[in-house]
Amino acid sequence: MTELVQHLLELIRKTSTDLPHDVEQGLLKAREKEENGSTAEHILGQILENVRLARASSIPICQDTGTLNFFVRHPAAVSRRELSETIREAIRLATSRNYLRPNAVDSVTGLNSGNNLGGAHFPSIHFEEIQGDTLQFDLLLKGGGCENVGRQYALPDTRIGAGRDLDGVRKAALDAVMQAQGRGCAPGFLGIAIGGDRAVSYQAAKEVFLLDMDGHHPDPQIAALETRITTEANQLGIGPMGLGGHSTILRTRIVALHRLPASYFVTIAYMCWAYRKGSLRVSGGKAEYC
């Protein structure tokens, strides 16, 4: 497990200090769409310079290294308890090396644990048993600014005229983007879950960010809705950091779950432009990062 600690430490470092290639490309394209000399272009220029500086100097892109969301797929023979302990050790080390900000605050006393560890729910670790002998770790770092602007709607919602259908989902998503303004650190990404109960819907919306954001839902009408929400969100003119411009949302992905007859939840998770996602595969003693 000591070797695995080192691999996980490297996964955390990479995830905190670099952006996935497609996210950086999306930001470059967004800058091209903004007018020359505009505030939006200026902000996207600073964002891109910051990404390059963080990568070159191995510095966290954003000081809010967020909640650590680990998704672990493991063979049957591997102990979840040991994996959990190993992840925790890697987090402790990563915090001491300043790849992570100490972020775990006791809700009652206000005390910061200093090492990003706090009880059974901090960090958040999800396990799934798979066949074969490969261990796979997916990591999402999600900051508090974008987490705070996430929203859940119970349809029908008369305030926004949203019924229990895909057009109601569209209306909820656009309302959430309007309410968020620049506070989620736009330009952002939307992960939307339709259905589920309240808790499952929130979790599924967040897990959308593990998907390839350039892809689309296999159901063509949901795929069309993903594109339409992105297009219409950008018509709101909120722009980078909410200071105006064409780029508010870079991509939208939707997941549809089963629901109770009585419930029709639409949950919108917002990911800031600093969309920090990393993967590690360990097989036959070899580690591969992507």
Binding site: C62, D64, G110, G114, N148, C185
Partner: protein, 205 residues
């Protein structure tokens, strides 16, 4: 070219600033976020006769930094905790709106000239900016490596018991980049964008 501003500011410095102005700030300032604002507000409400000795000492120490100065809404990553030889590693702005209940009272108490944060603030802060005068400066959220590069020295730290991100850090910055989004004349770029986006949303619903 951005407008160069050096702390402490004068009233004419901030009165001259307009929405959308790019600025480059140099000088000494204080970071503070959620626990710091709540604590400062409570100290102000309590009054000088009812503070405990240690808190009174901190308030006296930060008074000269804040008068004609700025609070930066920031919870940094800081190295050197073991040695006390602190350095800012990554230090972008945090969402300012959470300080809205406290900010205006703090600004008035310390006779501040503004705040740096992200996402804008509400009516109470806007009114404080108008009467003091003061300005809200917007830094680019997430651009934290870049922001930390502008922090050349950590001069002191107060209320470390709030934890590293929430302590009040006395820092020296050079050419810290920001944009004016609430001016000293009652204008808010955030209000303008929100109003416009709201009317577009109504047409899309």
């Amino acid at each position: 070219m951005p407008i160069s501003l050096t702390l402490p500011f004068t009233s004419s410095d901030v009165n001259a600033l307009q929405l959308g102005d790019m600025v480059s700030i140099s000088g000494d300032l204080l970071t503070g976020r959620d626990q710091a604002h709540k604590w400062l507000y409570e100290q102000i409400c309590r009054g000088s006769d009812h503070r405990d000795k240690e808190d009174a000492h901190v308030l006296d120490a930060i008074q000269p930094i804040l008068q004609d100065g700025l609070i930066y809404h920031c919870g940094p990553i800081v190295s050197g905790h073991e040695t006390g030889n602190y350095r800012f590693i990554s230090a972008g702005p945090t969402t300012s709106m959470r300080q809205e209940p406290y900010q205006s009272a703090i600004m008035r108490h310390f006779k501040m000239k503004g705040v740096i944060g992200k996402g804008g603030m509400g009516e109470k802060t806007l009114n404080a900016c108008k009467t003091l005068p003061a300005v809200y400066f917007h830094a680019v959220g997430g651009a934290a490596a870049l922001a930390a590069r502008a922090v050349i020295e950590v001069l002191n730290v107060y209320k470390l018991e709030f934890g590293l991100p929430e302590a009040l850090w006395h820092i020296r910055v050079v050419d810290f980049p920001a944009i004016v989004t609430i001016d000293a004349h009652g204008n808010s770029l955030h209000d303008e964008i929100q109003t416009r986006s709201k009317s577009v949303l109504e047409s899309l619903l």
